[in-house]
Subunit: 208 residues, 2 copies
């Protein structure tokens, strides 16, 4: 028996699953879930169709595990950025700034996953809706926590609405990054980070 955990580790099985994730994520990002066939996924992964069904119960389950895997990476990365700032004694605004950068780095590294996540997040009536809600909550919670800490410490205005502001921040990072990659790919990650940082720090219109 092979260990069946979901580590990053090096079992033969894990390697196959990883290849299938990578094949599935780009194909589904490009075409959508329904338009992507299992045959295509297997072919791009360089694997037989039977192997897909040896490793995953169904096309749906492959996708759900892919979702969990990807958002898990993002959440860990955001948490790291926040904790690293904390360790350095940085302010909460700096922590938010670091999380923005972490988000951009993640999107830069996994553009297909991001695209696919955005495309599915607000859909209703889909089999994996509950899975998606769970992972979304985990990711948003990281942002909300830092916002709340900022308010407590007086760094952020007490007027702000934490859940809505968190959504808005996630939105500006997500859309700016996807737009950057699709329509403004000549810009650098630093350019995008600067633009978002300016907005976060209220230096677009708030200061004089």
């Amino acid at each position: 028996m092979e260990r069946s955990s979901t580590g990053t580790g090096g079992g033969r099985r894990q390697a196959t699953r990883q290849k299938l994730y990578e094949a599935a994520v780009t194909l589904i990002a490009e075409q959508g879930f329904s338009a992507t066939t299992v045959d295509e996924i297997a072919e791009r992964a360089g694997v037989a169709k039977g192997t897909v069904y040896y490793n995953f119960a169904s096309k749906n389950e492959l996708f759900e595990e892919l979702l969990r895997h990807g958002v898990g990476l993002l959440t860990a990365s955001l948490r790291d950025a926040a904790e690293e700032t904390e360790r350095r004694g940085g302010s909460r605004v700096e922590a938010l700034d670091a999380m923005i950068r972490a988000g951009l780095v993640f999107i830069d590294r996994y553009p297909a996953f991001t695209q696919l996540y955005v495309a599915e997040l607000w859909r209703t009536n889909r089999a994996w809706q509950s899975t998606l809600m769970v992972v979304r909550r985990e990711a948003v919670a990281v942002v909300e926590t830092v916002l709340r800490e900022g308010v407590e410490r007086g760094e952020l205005s007490a007027e702000i609405d934490v859940p809505l502001t968190a959504a808005a921040m996630v939105g500006m990072v997500l859309v700016a990054a996807l737009d950057w990659q699709s329509f403004q790919s000549e810009r650098s990650l630093d350019d995008v980070h600067s633009a978002l940082s300016l907005l976060l720090r209220g230096r677009v219109s708030g200061n004089r």
Copy 2:
């Protein structure tokens, strides 16, 4: 003889096309383009399948025209908001604020369309990609123009990167609104508008 123009008017044909748009937009928003069948669209519109093909060359074309139609409404609404502010002698920041509200109102009225637009916008390799690029450009241009005017008049920092800031603003409105509807539906439109207005005006973290 029936008139065959593409007005908003009341011909029988236009009425049928409108019903097909409405049926298609909700189904595709819920399930995605590929997962939505022409039979479903026809059934929800209360029309025979053949009628779909009498009015549109293909499933693809129905979708593309739907896209053009919807983004056209949004663009007009944003432009109205900006011009109305101008007419009142309002500042460019006020114009941006009015456009945020107009965006929220639009999303509130056409949630399915918004959802579908977001899900498709960054997809590659799709038949309607070029159509989407065209309509996107029209919509973003409205925001960019107002930002540029704001910089010229010294209302907005000269440091800002117009295209990236425009993308970020669109993103915060889009994601905040979709999140509001999906996960925070108890909030009012004014709540969401206030939260975004605060961010735009730099009163989240920028002022002391």
